[in-house]
Structure formats: C-alpha cells, structure tokens
Amino acid sequence: MSQATDTQGDEDGTIASVSGPVVVAADLGARMNDVVYVGDEGLMGEVIEIEGNRTTIQVYEETSNVAPGEPVTNTGEPLSVDLGPGMLYSIYDGVQRPLDELEDQLGAFLDRGVDAPGIEMDESWEFTPTVEEGDEIEAGDIVGTVPETESIEHKVLVPPDYEGGAVTNVEEGAFTVTETVVELDSGEEVTMHQEWPVREARPTVDKETPKTPLITGQRVQDGLFPLAKGGTAAIPGPFGSGKTVTQQSLAKYADADIVIYIGCGERGNEMTEVIDDFPELEDPNTGKPLMSRTCLIANTSNMPVAARESCVYTGITIAEYYRDMGYDVALMADSTSRWAEAMREISSRLEEMPGEEGYPAYLAARLSEFYERAGYFQNINGTEGSISAVGAVSPPGGDFSEPVTQNTLRIVKTFWALDADLAERRHFPAIDWDESYSLYRDQLDPWFEENVASDWPEVRQWAIDTLDEESELQEIVQLVGEDALPDDQRLTLDIARYLREAFLQQNALDDVDAYSAPEKTYLIMQAIRTYNDEAFAALDAGVPVEEITDIDAAPRLNRIGTTAEYEAFIDDVESNIESQLREKY
C-alpha cells in the first residue's frame, strides 16, 4: 500500500465513536474514499460516509482499545496501489502490504498499525528505453522495458493521467523505481513506479469481442464449457464441492501471461498451501516457475473485514496495469461471496437500509462494476490486452437462488456449476454438465477448428447429446432398473459412463492428469466416440450388449488421462476396441 504523505494538520480530526471496524470522526476535512490514519496507532481506514461534521471511516485493522478523542489524520488521497516492477512473485494482504515483509516486521501473527509499500522502493531494475530524445509520447505509452521475472518483461508506462509531450531526456541502466528514467518537455517525469486508485478503472480505448479461448487444461472446461480470454466466469458451489481446487487448477494451468489470485476471506491453511506450492510448480506452457507470472493476494477469513472488501479491487487494479502492457491476465477471486458479505457487514454497521437477505441495495451494482473491468481491450497505447475474471461463489446451503449467485449470473457468460452429489462420489472436477453453460462456445469454435481439430464442435455436440440422453435414461433406470432397457439404450449408458469417468473426471493430484492439453482433450473424446461407433456397429450386427460392454479394451479408456504418452496409448486402445468388437461378428 502506498504511503501517502500527511497533509495539512488543519484537516485532521478526532474520533467521536468506535463500533468494530466502523469509526466516526469529527472535524475531519476529508473527501469520500480518502485514506485516513486512525488513532494513536495510526490504523489505516477509508472514508465511506460524510454527514455534516461527522465522517464515517471503515478501518482495515482490528480496532480493540481505540478510544474516542484519539486523532485521525487525513492523507488526502484515495485508496491506491503501488504499481511497478516487483509485483510478480509477491504475496499481499487485502491492501497490498507484502505478507513476507509483515512477517519480518511482526513475526508470525499479524499485528496492526504497520505499513509497508507494495513494491520494494530501494531495489534496482535494469531499464532499457524504447523511446529516444525527441519522440512524442502520450499518456499510457510504453517508454521502456524491465526484465521483471524470467517469463515476464515489464513494460514501463507513462501514467494514464499524464499530459505527454516530447522526450527531453532518457536514461538507461539500473535504477530504483522512484528514480526518473524519462523526462518530457511538459515537465513531467516518468519513473518505473506509479499509483492508481483501486476503485477507478484504468482507462482504455475500446472493448472488443474475445475470440481466443483461455485454455485451462481441464477437459470439462475446455471441452464443454470454454472461457474466452477476456471473458468472465462464475464457479458457484456449496462447501466441499471443490471451488478452491478448481480455482487453483486455473491459476496453475491457464495459458494466461499473468495470473492474479485473490484469496478473499478464505482459509489460512489453504492460502499457505498456495504460497508453498506455487513457487515449486512450473508453468506447463513455458516451463518457467509458476510464481514468475503470478501475484497472490491473501486475505484470510479472520483478517479485518474492511480489507476483505478492498482486496478484489486491489487485485483487479494490478490486473489492469499488466493488461495495459499488452498481456493476457487471468484473475481468480475466491470467493466473491466473502467480498459481498464484507459489504453486508459494513453496510449493516452503517445502519443502511438492507436489500435482499441483508445485503446492501448496491450489491448488484458493485458486482457488475467489478466484472465489467474484465474484457478484451484495446489499450490507450495501441496494444491489446485482456483480463479474464473468474469468481468463485459460495452460496449458503448450496442454494443458487441467493442474491450473490443470481446477481453474478446476470453478468458472467460462463457458468461452471459445482455439485455436491458429484463431489460426494469423488467425481472431480465436480462441474455439473447439465447445469453449466458457456455463452462463448460459438465465438470460440473457429479457434478450436483451426488450432485443434476441424470437427471439434461436432464431436463436442455428440458428447453433450450422449450425456443428455444418459440423464434422461437415468430417470427411467431409477424406476425400473437398467436391465429393463432396450439394448441400444443400455449401450448408450455404458458409453456415457466412459464420458463421465474417462473424459469429465480429471485427477488434480495426478501429475499427468492434472493438465490436459486441448489436443489430448479432443483425442479422449474422439476415442470414446470410436468405441461408440464400433459398439453400435457390433450391436447392429447382432452382438448381444453384454458381450460388447464386457470387452477388456474399453476400461482402458479410463487410463488415458493419467498416461503421459497418450497418443500411442490412444491408438492402441482404439485398435484394440476395434479388433475385439469386430471379431464378435
């Protein structure tokens, strides 16, 4: 978090009352959303309401023992993040304080009243300019590059609120982020560091229709319900249905340039797992360390509630900054319900009139504002970049009719519904294929046809039809038993079972199966379809259904997922299926 300098003392006030994270100050000359420091310990807070002489502040830290009469200092600036090289590999709390820095200062437990900048101000970075003296540059333009990590070249941008002008001086070499590297004739100086208020979207030129998929490496997602680069998705599910595992798989395997992972109000041990695991993992697309493209924001459920409210904004602002460099950014927020609850909690402390289920009336507006900051953009410097936003939703009791799920569904275009029943029978990822949808399918099909297989849409439709037919047949089976069905329907059930077990299920804990490239996803679908075609041909030739489903080549379909050299294995399975079935007639 940026350490804004104190301004004139006459704007400072005193505390009038304290109730949990809500503090009212008197005589404070602050504007809405200004950051203030509260009390003798200087706890960080934000102005959320002004009424006459009384200013209401939400405090990002525990307020125990804070008493009326203590001072409140205004910084005169809104809640902002520090942007610059050094954000990747970092782990922040909800207001962009680096957690490892806090651990050095405070020890194992998080205390309060401590501030630390979001990026290391003293560290030197090797700056290579891409502009020369005399060049005319405008706000948002790229003036140079910095090798931030092994996989990401950081582009140094002119802050969007600059006027721009002709370059009068350019430096090259090692500088800290606060030193000037480019000077303009307008008198403006460009450094590698800039600040941006979190609640304000960074400017862009235009939003475009996304046409490339965000490859997730998950068969059910890429194969049936794809997400576009620049798209939005929601993952709702009751507890224990695997939201976090799904989000983490996305963070690990999605083919984005940059990943921002926001742990919003979730479990401490889970965040620790991410913090421990990610540095050891490799990006399957580049082979570089996963952390070299990742920024983590960890606000666990027992950290102050106001910081939980702000953490999604912190995350998306950082995402926008990398988007401005022309990168594809994937942002995961786990979970947006906790964010909504933080709004509710603060709203009720303000005694605002509640909307549905106690949530504030502005819930829907806040959610859509957030998701609208995602998209495929034309940036003001002429580059193109995208932010794909994936929000987990934790509906109480798994009931999708509650306000957060419903308001989210009105905005997002991909819906990955998690199902407790599937999770109970350890069908993971527990994405319910009946309820989920993706509105990006049609606009992404050309990409899949060109890059994976020309009959991708057709094979996918076959898989969907087969699964649909299974759902209908299952209802009958529940009543009369499988043996009462005609042979062709029994065969369909068997084939659908392979779709579920060999295709939809994917073992996140298996090194090979955890990531399935689109080619593999396609070939598995195709292999099951081969079995389908051969089996129905055999059935038509008069082979009894028991004999068809009993061949020992078919169960090997289930092993494709965990096989690294899958191409040869699939060929072998397909030819075995073919020969075993054909010799029966």
Partner: protein, 486 residues
Amino acid sequence: MKEYQTIEEISGPLVFVEIDEPVGYDEIVEIELPNGEQKRGQVLESNEEFASIQVFEGTDSINREASVRFLGETMKMPVTEDLLGRVLDGSGRPIDDGPEIVPEEREDIIGAAINPTAREYPEEFIQTGVSAIDGMNTLVRGQKLPIFSASGLPHNDLALQIARQATVPEEIDEEGDDEDGSEFAVVFCAMGITAEESNEFLADFERTGALERSVVFSNLADDPAVERQITPRLALTTAEYLAFEKDYHVLVILTDMTNYCEALREIGAAREEVPGRRGYPGYMYTDLAQLYERAGRIKGREGSVTQIPILTMPGDDDTHPIPDLTGYITEGQIMMDRNLNSQGAQPPVNVLPSLSRLMDDGIGEGLTREDHGDVSDQLYAAYAEGEDLRDLVNIVGREALSEQDNRYLDLADRFETEFVDQGFDNNRDIEDTLDIGWDLLSTLPKSSLNRIDEELIEKYYREDAGEPDEESTSDESDAAESEAEA
C-alpha cells in the same frame, strides 16, 4: 482506572453508561453491585458521552446504583503451563478448588491472525483409530475438522474416542503408546452443554487419566449466554500458548458451537442490529472465522493447534446458517447420520457427505501407506454406487439387478457393518483400516477398480475374497476371472 455510577439504561445483556472520559472499544469493565457482587463486561460501542457494555454474567440484579469501572485494557487470559489438569468456568476462573493459578503471561484473548506466509502447511497424519476418519477423512495436525451432528446422536462419544486414541504413528513406535503426556494436551471448551454432558466428559477424562493433560473451560447450559462469547476465546488463547510457546500438540474440542451461535444471535438482537439469515448477525462468518482460523501450525515452532468443534444441526439441516458457515471455514466435516445410528453403527459416521480437505497431503507413501488415497477414492465411489442402488432395490428387488449391482449392494452393507461400525472402544491402526478396505474392495472384480493404480491392485487385491456369502452363482465368474488374470 475510572469509576462511574452513571448507568443510564439496562436492556437485555447490555448496560449503557454515561461517561466523561473516552473509553476504548473492546475494553473490559467491572461492575460492582450495591450488594458487593462483581460482574464483568466488555465495551461494545464507545463515543464521547456513552459507552455500551455487554455484561458476561447477565444483567440480573444490576440497578442504576451499581458502579462501573473501566479497566483500560482489553480482555486478557492469564496463561501458564500449570493450567493443565485444571477446570475453569466460562470466564476462566478456577472452579476445581485447586491452588491459585500464578500466570506466566497474560495474553489478549482476541487472537491476532496468523500470517499465511508464517504458517506451516499441515500434513502430519493423526491416527484417531477410527476407520471412518483415518481411512476416509484423515485428520492432520493443525487442521480444524468439525463434527456435524444432531440432537440425539453420540457425537460426544466420538469426540471422546478421538481425544483418547489420537496419536501420531511415529510416537507409537518410540513409546509403545502416547502416554508420555509431555507432548499432547487437550483443551476442552464447553459452551452451553448440560451438566450431565459435561460430567460425562470429565468422568471419561478422569478414567483415562487424560484430565492431567487437559484444561477444561466450562460454560454450562444454565450459565449466562453472553459468557459463551468469551469462553472459546479464552480456550483458544490457552491452546495457542501451550502450542506455540510450550510446544504441545493441542487438541481443542469446542462443544457445542450451536449454543455459541445462539448467544451471538441473542446479543445481536439486544443491540438491535440488522439481522442476516435466520436472524443470525451478518458478521457471524467473520466471528466464527476468528475462532476456527486459530487452528494451525507455525513455521519454526514445535506445537500445533488442532480443532474439533462439535455442532448440532438444528433440524438435521446442513444448510442451516451454523453448519453452513462453519463448513465454509473449516477444512472439511465429519457427518453423523441418524440412520446409521439407528442401525447401531458406532460411530455412526456417514462418509459420503464427510470430507477432510487436508487429507491428500497427509497420506500416502511414507505418511500412511502407498495405497491409502486410491483405496479411499475407490471405497467412496463403490459405496456411493451401492447407496444409489438401495433405492432401486426397494422398487424392483434384488433379483432384477445385475450381478455387478448386487456386488455393490453387498459392499455397501459390509462397508457399514465392518468398516464404519467398529465400536467406541476399538482402536484400529491405519494398517488395519486399509486392510479392511481391501477385504471389501476385493469382492469386486479387478476391472472395476478403476481408481486404483494397477500395481497396487496386484499387490493388495485378495484373490480369495470374492465370494459373497449367500450366493454361489457369482463365484464361478469371479474364479474364472481370477484365473484368466493369473
């Protein structure tokens, strides 16, 4: 320390006092009644003229003549290793006629959040000796794994069994058992349970000698509800002290969280707050998280805090806000089941809706056994399949089902009677548990074990286990298959 005799209003558990000097939020207050009785409370809201105070012991017989002292500090728990073996009331005062407790330190009861970068990820297997937990929903050190129960179910027996049997396997190797006592401690926190239940726990602790390595906090059903707000915080502060300062592995049993949440609702209503779902306060998630998240391990420190909160689901409904919010914070849940209980299963744990999120990292080769993960997955899938078929059997009868379906049905029955139902006094080690798992799985043909690695099937599959007792028809095919494979 400032003293006032200016009580303006008394309402429910709240007292409003006029003040002329500011007091801090959350500050502790002593209220002295005219008859000399002392009560304690906490500042809920503070402004320049008024402070509202929540009184832990209830506002009974407080009148406007009572005097109010602000102590100038937040609630502290006096902690020392000597607390082991002691019984305290819900406000942390000894009630066992033991010697006075001389604290080594006084710790703030509102625990600070553990920095996620300082946490050590929990992956040390705790063997509870209960197959349904060890085999299917493994508990690890530093985890918070609640028991979701309902009225009339023996959750207390299960909690006691875990407290009695919990060990880490390597300790067994060194000591023969876990009786060395210097390592393991229990913090037992009773919130609003009946005196009878409390006696049951204490009697068992005494019988097994566990009391001397336990600290008991006791807020019973007839103790003030408001006090329940601080009891678990006192208990967890003690647990953290024992774990992170004194290197104990602490098991915290919190029972019954439902009573805690009811108290939360009561206070919320008294404060005229805007209620959330079913009248519970909107901040209940945050409040519960502040308790549950105090479980864990910290890098560079020996001890650990493992939590087993117990809650009774009102109306057996797991979508009720209390179990629902709990499930979103804790790392899984152990579900008690009324049907299994009436069948006499001890413990009546339904593994299907149960879950341990930290299981995958705590099991496997070098931790438990190489086949643990696969066996557990396969048992889950097979038992779920058998469960599903039971509905069908009711309609069409067993004869109408295929041979394979009948195998799944038999497996589901045997899973309940042999694997889950082991008795509250039976301590099974993990090898036994997994072997029983293989007994069951070996009744299925090898080709249906699609979640188990082929090498493990070769190693552990029992060729001789395939015969369901009552039928001989399937034997032939089983035998034929076995031969074909051999």
